[in-house]
């Protein structure tokens, strides 16, 4: 008990920092708006807050906040593999910020999910009532476990500064957490895609695939480095933390290799099912698919292996194209690919947008707060001390 008291005192005594800027004020405004909409949704239900309907039971929150959010937060486990399992230490500089983005990403995903489920007070049911034949069951368990693991991993960073006497405990637990923290995401990144295998007669054949799980997994892996490029460009400006080009380039090339494998798998699968011709059908689905593949995969692969990845500009372009392409892909699965089968009409309501944007704003604010107070963006000169 007295130990806990010490901890609280330590927390109270620690000098927390949070610098106000215009950008942050806007973010706070958006976050506030989002919270108001969330409360409204919880109080009144889905019908009045969203445009979801019987033909479109899943919308922006599942498509963007959950499916896309989890994939974009995938940089955490990818980096964990490279840095902590393969011990490529040159990438240590980005390990912590990638893990932080990932943790925040998952917390936001959980919040988004919580908004979306109708019986939210019942969210814990699948922990006791095991619908193990459902792919969603695997998603649910793995996302919950992984978020817990990430919070514990983060404990190691926090206890450097606050509650220091627990630091050794967290340090010891880290290897186990790391391995768990890779298995869970591997499983749920793929199962998020595999949610759609049962919709074989609904999802358009360009996106439906028996391998859709594997495709989701691969894309969540190669979007990691892309997100790191974008994030370090942003954080570099805000926190004067430059990651060496060689580090980013190495990561981008690893991503490039997986993107080539991904392309190979896509075309093998389309050919095996005999639907390659649908790409050129000239309809909405075909064109969207083509755009997704060319902009989000082919051009970035070219950038990764050409001299363009030697420049910060090239790296940022890669980052934006690949992350954009992934968002595009998930949107295509959730909306474009389903629209012919579901019919009817859906466009997110203002409140749905407000909640999604609000959640992202909250994420950005928390990221800034943590980056200012803990050793996240490891500077070259600190590296020795903090590792």
């Amino acid at each position: 008990m007295s130990a806990d008291k010490g901890l609280f005192q330590e927390i109270a005594a620690y000098k927390w920092k949070f610098t106000m800027t215009t950008a942050r004020k806007i973010l706070i405004l958006l976050a506030g708006l989002g919270v108001v909409c969330m409360l409204y949704r919880l109080a009144t239900g889905l019908g009045s807050a969203t445009n979801l309907n019987d033909q479109w039971p899943w919308g922006l929150w599942i498509g963007f906040d959950v499916l896309t959010g989890v994939a974009l937060a995938g940089g955490g486990y990818g980096t964990a593999i490279i840095v902590h399992v393969l011990h490529r230490n040159k990438y240590l500089a980005i390990a912590r910020s990638a893990m932080l983005t990932s943790l925040l990403g998952y917390l936001l995903v959980m919040a988004g999910l919580f908004m979306d489920i109708g019986q939210w007070f019942n969210f814990w049911r699948p922990f006791v009532s095991w619908g193990h034949t459902s792919v969603l069951f695997e998603v649910f368990w793995c996302v919950s476990c992984y978020t817990t693991v990430q919070v514990l991993e983060f404990g190691e960073i926090v206890t450097e500064k606050v509650g220091t006497k627990y630091h050794n405990f967290f340090k010891k637990a880290l290897p186990v957490l790391m391995v768990l923290g890779i298995i869970f995401p591997t499983l749920h990144q793929s199962s998020l895609g595999a949610l759609y295998v049962i919709m074989v007669d609904k999802l358009y054949p360009l996106w439906w695939s028996p391998y859709i799980g594997l495709m989701f997994l691969m894309s969540s892996f190669f979007v990691g480095p892309a997100m790191i490029c974008v994030e370090t460009a942003l954080a570099g400006k805000a926190f004067k933390h430059e990651v060496p080009i060689s580090v980013l380039r190495g990561l981008v090339r690893i991503a490039g290799v997986f993107m080539i494998l991904y392309l190979g798998l896509k075309f093998y699968d389309l050919a095996a099912r005999g639907v390659v011709n649908l790409i050129f059908a000239g309809n909405l689905e075909g064109n969207m698919f083509m755009a997704e593949i060319i902009l989000g995969v082919m051009i970035p692969v070219y950038i990764a292996f050409s001299s363009m990845s030697n420049t910060r500009k090239g790296l940022i372009t890669f980052g934006i194209l690949v992350s954009g392409g992934l968002i595009f892909n998930r949107m295509n699965v959730v909306f474009t690919g389903m629209s012919a089968a579901l019919g009817g009409w859906y466009f997110p309501s203002i409140m749905e947008w407000a909640v999604s944007i609000g959640l992202i704003s909250i994420g950005c604010l928390v990221y800034c707060f943590i980056a200012e107070n803990f050793n996240i963006l490891v500077h070259e000169d600190h590296q020795g001390a903090s590792t």
């Binding site: 489920i117 019986q119 391995v179 499983l187």
Partner: protein, 270 residues
């Protein structure tokens, strides 16, 4: 033995008595009428409507005729919705074959709505704490809305005045369906539900295309839960295999790095 209902679209006169009796038996509130395609109303099943008679004007040999078909949950033999529910809120009763819903277990994720190949489960969108709504085949383990356990046919079948709906053993109904098809050339040579999505308890025969009433033209015959199973069966192998591999790699590369840094200290180049 698994029960079933045979729907003979040629015998339906579109009186909607079944639709009304369903609302009455299940205490479902009525709504302000709203129509599409002429007489179909409400346009589709919804949070308060387990069944809808769908109307279609079809041209047959130069003549226009009205055809109508009652739609509701098909009570699949391998229900996609049951396999998709991660909270076991949907269940197939082994005795009657009815696919029923346990509201207290439902999380409200709506995956069942997307998984169902017939787009049956609907949602109570206007409620603060909405639940799924779908036909229960008048089977209720809680007894209140039960008919099947008492040996009675579902409310809709009981009300049907023309014999367009017949309740019985699925096997026998299937035989009866083929008898009718074979003795009258105007029928389409297919029993919808015999094989679709792995087979359903409700069976349809018709003299006009089933797609007219919103059945998907590309319904496969493979039970849908198998698709999920084909993915999920790898989970344990991947979890254990991948975990082992990662642990080994972790120790291996760590050791290699230690060796490397030791030799680094001795100024040996790698």
């Amino acid at each position: 033995m698994a029960k079933g209902v045979l729907v003979d679209i040629t015998k339906c006169i579109g009186c909607k008595a079944c639709q009304v009796s369903c609302k009455q038996w299940n205490d479902l509130p009525a709504k302000i009428p709203e129509f599409v395609d002429g007489l179909t109303g409400p346009p589709d099943m919804d949070g308060d409507t387990y069944t809808v008679v769908k109307f279609k004007v079809v041209e047959m040999a130069g003549e226009y005729k009205i055809r109508s078909a009652k739609k509701q949950c098909m009570h699949c033999q391998h229900p996609a919705c049951v396999s998709a529910c991660f909270a076991k809120a949907l269940e197939k009763d082994p005795k009657t074959g009815a696919v029923i819903y346990h509201p207290h277990l439902c999380v409200g994720c709506r995956y069942c709505m997307l998984a169902c190949p017939f787009d049956i489960p609907k949602y109570e969108w206007e409620k603060t704490f909405p639940l799924i709504a779908k036909c229960q085949f008048c089977f209720d383990p809680q007894d209140k809305y039960d008919r099947l356990s008492y040996g009675k046919p579902p409310a809709c079948v009981d009300t049907c005045i023309t014999g367009a709906l017949v309740y019985g053993e699925r096997d026998e109904l299937l035989k009866e369906a083929w008898n009718r098809i074979n003795s009258d050339p105007s029928y389409i040579k297919k029993v919808l539900g015999e094989k679709e999505a792995g087979g359903t308890s409700w069976l349809y025969i018709s003299d006009v295309p089933f797609e007219d009433f919103g059945f998907r033209p590309n319904l496969g015959t493979r039970p849908l839960p198998e698709y999920s199973h084909d993915f999920l069966k790898y989970t344990p192998i991947i979890a254990v295999g991948w975990g082992t591999l990662l642990t080994v790699l972790y120790h291996y590369t760590k050791r290699r790095e230690q060796v490397a840094s030791e030799s680094d200290n001795k100024d040996v180049h790698l």
